[in-house]
């Protein structure tokens, strides 16, 4: 301030010397209470009607300072402030200090009217309008959706928004496909869609809307027309051998009826089942009975390569699916989804297993040749009523699997044939109902179902001769398993908000009755014999649970708290009439779960969680007699019911600075599981394993740490990401009757670079280096080192064509041959701009690499599996919408 005054004086002197009169008028503006007024305007003019000569605006302490150069004798001063009467006065033209007090005025300012403007409809937005995102290459809506900010379509087809799976996939507000939305997503023509809407924090149940906050988003496809008939078709062929690929998906959408039908067939390794995969989100934290197919018996399979199955899967698949929705009346929908899949797959390769036993190393080589046949019929009927005061959803699902497998193994000195029939059936009904009772909203849930698996495994020649046939060889062994499960779970719960805390108590009762019957038979020539004693099961396993659980959620400012407090009373009755064994158990358990998150600044966020849980085994981990699970594994659990008590803690910290485009996050978790059973493995000279449970308390400990960082370099148009993870697993094992501590350590590093080199070339590189180290108390085992690198180059030849090169390299230090695996694929696409037809040519496995080798480990073995890949082949396809 002082400086400016000095400056003023200098300035003033200068002006005086230059010949014109210069004066400084300064002062202070006050309101009626002698408080300073800032922002008042002070104008100086010749008289009341002439224009302004000079002006000032009062500062935060009400002061003003105006310099003017004029030869006038007197000046007209006008001081105004909005809402106050204007002060006008005449002053002398000389340096002076003024104090001006203004008084409030009720005089209103003149108004001018604005004509009300018609609000424009929201047009294309970056995030939601299809046309903004669609380019000529895009055919189906998935092509467009995956470009939208925040939306990610995972390789399996699941859609995530902001990293969380979406809750619903609506078409015109109707939920035709439930979780199997890939079918719509991959087949609705992008041209038929006007908008894709993301419904953030969407609560699909209208009744719950104001009560229960949802942090999930849903997606709605808005079509251009009221009645849309559309579809996509893809035809492809190639060699060698002769390849085909057919996909036809017609569909129709009206306001009340929606249907999507699809038929797909190929022998190119394309996975068609991904389109009918279910991505429904089951209710959070809810223990549900699994209706997934469960196989008791298996043939030895080969570990599948980690890359796209089009490069290794030898298949011959047919899929038909019909999905139909009808809106019966307002807010009541009936949905039917029926699909049938038939697939024949072939796997060829070998597995080398190196077992580390206390007395030495056992090497086992298995040349494997498998044929797998799948026959699956799935049907689902859903009735849903969703109004503002009522919600009901009943789902009935009936699935049948008629699967069979055939496997041939050559292990050098023996040739083994395995034949498996592994059908599975399930009927399941799920009801969810919301009803207001008094002022309270109560949720009723009822889950009831039945599953059945009658499976058979036959192996020639017979195995486990010592155990089963007094060391005499025999021609065939047969295992039959008949298992069935009935379950029901019924509960009532509600949600209430009390001073900011949402409390959701729930009570329920569940019952599960499992029955297991199994027999093992050996056959020599025409003479067959069922084995008795420890080789059969006739088990009834009844478990019941009464539970009371409360969930507390509190969110305020930057804090987020969540607490679950389930109390369970469980009772088990297990009885095998035939073996004359039984046990009863009842337990009262408390299994709390706690989570806190705090965003403690604009850049930092941290969270802590802790939980404690008890797990009890079911019939698959509790049967008194042996079952031959595969040709070289016999298992039984002639022990008390398994009880695991697990504690788990997790901490994470994230720093994200958008100003510098720099992100770092780290997290650590620790878990400790106390178990009452130890599993004993008895490995024979030929790798045949007998697994039994032994009653002995033991602990499993796991530590996991990971860190990630990424930085964008704007000058280079490049994003660099680095990551590291470390995990440590400690436990005890009983191998060939010797107890030992086992440590598994895994350390891995990731590097990723993505760069836009020029307008016509973009490139990305990713690399992974990982070390696996197993330490068994009595011996040291070599570390496994694996590497994985991939480099992709993308060229824009012209607006309607592109060309890409994908290359990959895999390395492991264990294999004696084939340590290095190289792959190269080329892809070219041409689009006919006018007709919108895509032509695609791909040359997969250019180097004709015929095998892929990967190495993994478990507590006592290295497993090196080699998988025969599809040969180098060329595929041409044409894709169009109709």
């Amino acid at each position: 301030m002082k400086k400016s005054i000095q400056f003023f004086f200098l300035f003033f002197l200068f002006i005086v010397l230059s010949g014109k009169a210069q004066s400084v008028i300064s002062g202070k503006v006050l309101d009626e209470n002698d408080q300073s007024l800032s922002g008042a305007t002070i104008m100086i003019s010749k008289d009341s009607t002439s224009s302004i000569l000079a002006y000032g605006i009062s500062d935060s302490s009400g002061n003003f300072n105006i310099q003017l150069k004029t030869n006038l004798e007197t000046l007209f001063l006008k001081i105004s402030y909005i809402g106050y009467s204007t002060r006008k006065q005449k002053i002398q033209n000389k340096d002076q200090q003024l104090e001006v007090q203004l008084s409030p005025s009720s005089e209103e300012l003149k108004e001018v009217l604005v004509e009300a403007r018609i609000i424009e409809q929201r047009g294309d937005t970056l995030s939601f309008s299809v046309s903004a995102f669609k380019d000529q290459k895009d055919r189906v809506i998935a092509d467009v959706i995956r470009k939208m900010p925040g939306i990610e379509i995972l390789p399996g087809g699941r859609i995530e928004y902001q990293g969380k799976p979406i809750q619903k996939y609506y078409i015109e507000g109707l939920d035709l496909l439930e979780g199997r939305y890939s079918l719509a997503n991959n087949n609705i023509a992008a041209d038929d869609v006007s908008k894709v809407q993301i419904l953030e924090n969407h609560q699909p149940i209208k009744l719950l809307d104001s009560l229960e906050f949802s942090d999930r988003a849903s997606l709605n496809i808005k079509l251009k027309n009221n009645v849309t008939t559309s579809g996509t078709a893809e035809l492809g062929t190639g060699f060698s051998p002769l390849l085909w690929k057919v996909k036809v998906t017609p569909m129709i959408f009206t306001k009340k009826n929606q249907a999507i039908i699809t038929y797909q067939s190929n022998n190119t390794g394309s996975d068609v089942s991904r389109e009918i995969r279910d991505f429904s989100i089951s209710d959070f934290g809810r223990q549900e009975f699994s209706i997934n197919k469960r196989d008791w018996l298996s043939i030895r399979r080969l570990a599948e390569p980690p890359f796209s199955q089009e490069r290794w899967l030898d298949n011959n698949v047919h899929l038909g699916s019909v999905n139909y929705l009808i809106r019966l009346k307002k807010d009541v929908d009936l949905k039917t989804n029926i699909s049938y899949l038939n697939d024949a797959q072939r796997q060829i390769g070998n597995t080398q297993t190196r077992f580390f036993t206390p007395t030495g190393t056992i090497e086992l080589v298995e040349q494997t040749n498998n044929d797998l046949f799948f026959n699956t019929l799935q049907s689902k009927f859903i009735l849903e009523r969703n109004t503002n005061d009522n919600y009901l959803k009943n789902e009935l699902e009936i699935n049948g699997h008629w699967d069979s497998q055939r496997g041939f193994i050559d292990s050098g000195n023996s040739k083994i044939l395995q034949r498996l029939s592994n059908p599975f059936f399930v009927v399941w009904n799920k009801l969810r109902m919301l009803k207001p009772i008094g002022k309270q909203l109560v949720t009723f849930r009822s889950n009831t179902g039945y599953t059945e698996a009658n499976q058979n495994l036959n192996v020639n020649p017979g195995q486990f001769e010592a155990l089963l046939n007094n060391d005499d060889s025999f021609s065939e062994i047969g295992q039959a398993v008949n298992s069935s499960t009935f379950f029901t779970d019924n509960s009532a719960g509600m949600a209430k908000k009390i001073s900011g805390v949402t409390i959701s108590p729930e009570v329920g009762f569940s019952l599960q009755n499992q029955h297991l019957k199994s027999r093992l038979a050996i056959q020599e020539g025409t003479r067959g014999e069922f084995l008795n004693g420890d080789f059969r099961n006739n088990l009834d396993f009844l478990s019941s649970r009464i539970y009371f659980t409360s969930r507390f959620v509190y969110e305020k400012d930057t804090w987020n708290f969540r607490l679950n407090t389930p109390v369970n009373y469980r009772a088990f009755t297990i009885e095998d009439f035939f073996l004359n064994r039984s046990q009863d158990l009842s337990r009262l358990t408390f299994e709390p779960d706690f989570y806190i998150r705090n965003k403690f600044s604009a850049f930092w966020e941290t969270s802590v969680s802790a939980n404690y849980s008890n797990d009890f085994g079911d019939v698959s981990r509790m049967h008194y007699g042996f079952i031959l699970n595969n040709y070289r594994s016999l298992q039984r659990y002639n022990s008390p019911l398994p009880e695991d008590f697990r504690q788990r803690y997790n901490w994470s910290l994230t720093y994200r600075n958008p100003l510098t485009s720099f992100f770092v996050s780290t997290s650590y978790s620790y878990s400790n599981t106390r178990r009452n059973l130890l599993y004993s493995n008895l490995i024979g000279e030929n790798g045949a394993t007998v697994l039994e449970a032994v009653e002995q308390d033991n602990n499993l400990q796991a530590h996991n740490w990971n860190a990630k960082a990424s930085k964008y370099f704007s000058k280079l148009n490049t994003t660099l990401s680095l990551g590291a993870t470390f995990s440590l697993f400690k436990g005890e094992q009983l191998l060939n009757q010797r107890l030992a501590d086992v440590n598994n350590e895994n350390l891995s590093f990731d590097l990723k670079l993505e760069s836009e080199v020029t307008d016509w070339l973009s490139t990305s590189y990713s690399g992974n280096l990982s070390f696996l180290k197993t330490t068994i108390e009595y011996r040291a085992i070599n570390d496994i080192e694996t590497q994985q690198h991939s480099l992709d180059l993308f060229f824009y030849l012209a607006e309607n064509q592109y060309f890409s090169i994908n290359s990959e390299y895999y390395f492991n230090n264990i294999s004696e041959e084939n340590r290095n695996n190289y792959f190269l694929n080329l892809n070219y696409q041409y689009t006919f701009l006018k007709s919108g037809i895509d032509l695609e040519a791909s040359w997969n496995n250019v180097l004709n690499t015929n095998e892929f080798v990967r190495v993994s480990n478990n507590e006592f073995a290295y497993i090196q599996s080699t998988y025969r890949l599809r040969t180098s082949q060329l595929l041409m396809s044409i894709k169009f919408t109709f």
Binding site: I52, L53, A54, Y81, L109, V114, I153, W604
Partner: protein, 279 residues
């Protein structure tokens, strides 16, 4: 010793985020301007119009596009409503389109103005001194929307402007960042008339208006840094989104193709209101 710096660092960040001033919703006056601008200096076909609003309280004011103000108000209302696909599309259909998604909050008492804009999911702001404009009052007078006005001249951010202000509204404020005349600026245009703001309405507010101030923490940055971030975003929105923790599942080449188209659009947007200052 290191720890101390660490704590200081964290402390300064939290200060930064809690130090934001709150704009009240008790605005007394609303001035409405029509903005006419030409985004591509080489193409007169690119002239566009948009309605802008200036809300004025005693010491503070908030300037934004009308569309942006309405969109934010609608979102505030729908925040507490039921979220069904229908209500969502209803909301989105009510939300007007706007080309300008910033707010300019001026504080006459502290002589400071804050430019606030959300990019992807981060809220940025930068502060500038209000006294930066040096006006030369001219003798030309006239009438705009019924108010007597006088002309003044100043240059700002690489352009020379002529403004018409009215002593009848003794508020030293104006559209965009323009301020500092002894009356409200009713019209302002640069020499080339690439950007023209003209008053189309002025009224006293009888009822409260929505406080569109978001509860979010603003990342405080400098003007140059903000322009850099914005430029980066406009240059490659996908990279910016990815850096914001939003991931894309592009098919190979999809992104690159979109970028190509995007660059063409960018070439046509060559005429921002504030030109790069030549130093």
């Amino acid at each position: 010793m290191k720890n101390i710096y660490w704590i200081l660092f964290i402390g300064s960040i939290s200060n930064l985020s809690f130090g934001q001033e709150s704009v009240t919703d008790n605005f007394k006056y609303k001035a409405t301007y029509e903005l006419t601008w030409q985004i591509d200096s080489t193409d007169t076909e690119s002239i566009q119009h948009e309605t802008m609003v200036l809300f004025i309280e005693d010491q503070i004011s908030r300037f934004s596009s009308e569309g942006h103000h309405i969109s934010d108000s609608i979102q505030h209302v729908y925040k507490n409503r039921e979220r069904t696909p229908q209500s969502f599309s209803e909301m989105r259909s009510k939300m007007p389109e706007t080309e300008f998604k910033y707010y300019i909050d001026k504080n006459l008492a502290s002589r400071e103005q804050n430019f606030k804009e959300k990019i992807v999911k981060d809220y940025y702001k930068y502060a500038e001194d209000l006294s930066g404009m040096e006006w030369e009052i001219l003798q030309d007078t006239g009438k705009i929307a019924g108010f007597s006005v006088q002309k003044a001249k100043a240059s700002f951010a690489g352009r020379n402007y002529s403004a018409w202000f009215s002593l009848e509204i003794p508020i030293p404020d104006g559209p965009y960042k323009f301020n500092g005349l002894p009356g409200l600026i009713l019209k302002i245009a640069d020499e080339e008339e690439y950007y023209v703001f003209e008053l189309i309405g002025f009224k006293s507010l009888k009822n409260q208006i929505f406080n569109t101030e978001s509860g979010e923490e603003y990342l405080e940055t400098g003007k140059n840094k903000f322009r850099e971030i914005k430029k980066e975003y406009e240059g490659n929105p996908f990279a910016a989104l990815e850096r914001g923790g939003i991931t894309f599942g592009f098919e190979p080449g999809q992104k690159e193709k979109m970028m190509k188209e995007h660059k063409l659009t960018l070439q046509k947007q060559n005429n921002p209101i504030e030109l790069e200052e030549k130093r």
